[in-house]
């Protein structure tokens, strides 16, 4: 995959190249060049299969990491194209024209992370959540426990314990 990476580095502004396995590598590209790189990989380097598109929330850095994982069915290699986008104004160029299934990934990311992909079909339609009006739930600052306590009533007869204290009291009752 070294030849491929050299080729990419000569054409695009990239950084943080990591060869993870023999057939798997990750590379970071500037947001403005991301879709151009993905298109180049699909059309000229035979990475014709989109394995997945997902996001990672780096809350402390104020960015979302988008990962486009592409597969080359000819030489059986995979490359993950990473893009860092601003968390505050989370918008990314849509790539729905490249794969028919891309639209589904982008709909999910908008719903779960609040990342916008202007122009992507059916983006406004709920994918998994229906009638959701809270913070997008897969963001790191969405408090799952707080939401559950606020939304659902506790069942009678059930109690929660802090695992560390509870285990200690059970295992070492005399301490």
């Amino acid at each position: 995959m070294i030849d491929l990476i050299k080729d990419i580095e000569s054409r695009f502004e990239t950084s943080d190249y990591i060869q993870k396995l023999d057939h798997l590598a990750f590379i970071t590209v500037e947001k403005e060049q991301a879709i151009a790189l993905v298109t180049y990989l699909r059309d000229y380097r035979k990475y014709t299969d989109l394995t997945l598109l997902t996001a990672v929330d780096w809350l402390e850095d104020g960015v979302f990491q988008l990962t486009y994982l592409l597969n080359n069915p000819t030489d059986l290699t995979e490359i993950g194209v990473r893009v860092m986008i601003d968390r505050e104004n989370a918008t990314m160029e849509s790539a729905h024209h490249l794969w028919e299934n891309m639209m589904t990934y982008q709909r999910e990311l908008r719903e779960m992370f609040g990342i916008d992909f202007p122009g992507s079909p059916r983006l406004e339609e709920p994918f998994i959540l229906e009638g959701w009006d809270d913070l997008p739930p897969y963001r790191r600052d969405f408090k799952t426990k707080e939401y559950a306590e606020k939304t659902y009533f506790p069942r009678p007869g059930r109690q929660s314990n802090d695992p560390a204290t509870y285990m200690k009291s059970k295992m070492y009752p005399n301490d």
């Binding site: 396995l21 989109l50 997945l52 997902t54 990672v56 069915p73 998994i128 959540l129 897969y138 799952t144």
Partner: protein, 397 residues
Amino acid sequence: MDIKKLFQMNPDRSLYPEMGEDGKPIIDLSSHKFLKIWQGPQHPGVTGNMSLELTVSGDEIVESKTHVGYLHRGFEKLMERRKFIQCFPTCIRMCVAEPDPNEYILAASIEDLGGIEVPETAQWLRTLALEMARLQVLLRGVPGQGGTFALGLGYQWGNYIRDLILDRFEELTGGRVYHMYIIPGGVRGLLPDGFKKRMEENLKLVDEFVKNIDDLMYNNSVFKQRAVGLGVIPRDWIEKYGVYGPSARAAGVMRDVRKTHPYLKYAELDFEPFTTTESDVYARSRVRWHDLQTTVDLIRQIMAKMPDKGDIRAETPNVMHWRIPKGETYQKCESSRGEYGMYMVTDGSDKPRRVNLKGPSYTHANALLEKLLINANIADTAGIMVSLATCPPEIER
């Protein structure tokens, strides 16, 4: 009135309904020519809890939209709040029918990022567990295709033998449906005494079942008339729509991770996944029927080749305090439905930063199924859907 003329249809169904300039069908519900019907979420003709919003004209589907979310429990989010070992009970529930590939890809991701080498005996046992999982799924999945066309008998046969395979799982792992047998570093135990003999007795029943299903389904004129030529996936859709596993192999494209990226002990096993080119519901079902035989053969090969003793677990740090260095990986295996992968990102803490599971149903049940159902008869919806082996929990995780 000329009754024949009334029911005469233009044989070229691609001309119907009328298409707008944007390439989408012109559907005016107030014209009384169309009807909206929901198939699911509670319906015998859907796999699991998902629903299809169908717009029909007569009995012909003109538009289809997939709706998921009835099972969403936020597993990926919950795993970000759990230590690596605590992720297992959550992760395996991402696919109820076949939980073992979930265990494997989660363990493989943790091992890859944590730098753990799995002992050889454990690799053989993992291979066996994954093939047993495939076997029990196919024992219901293969005759299940007949069930979508009202041929329910084979499903009852398959369920009986599947229960015997679950007995083997119970003695190997302690659990029937969820096993948590594959853990970071290896597996939880060796084969019990007499396991191979009892498994061989079960496999003989599967051999008989395979022959009976051939007579019951594939030589059945009704099944053939319903399934042949139905839901054809053209070759050029494979990459465009993300088609994997048996559905891709039915279109003549070799997509099987066991062959393309051999993991565990698959490189040491002699097998050739079946491919064909018809790419209709019949062909996809036939591929799965061949897969069933391949799996039986693989289990026999594994039991013959695997060592009876040896280390089954590598040494790992204390799992309740295990911090994994910052990194990311994508690990995959072949489930009965196709490529099943996990993208994991770690940040040096004792919990995963992000886990994203990608199962074939994600693309099969959304973009692909919505497209395949256009111009299909409403009575064929279940047949087409089951032929893609959609599993809703792996879509909404």
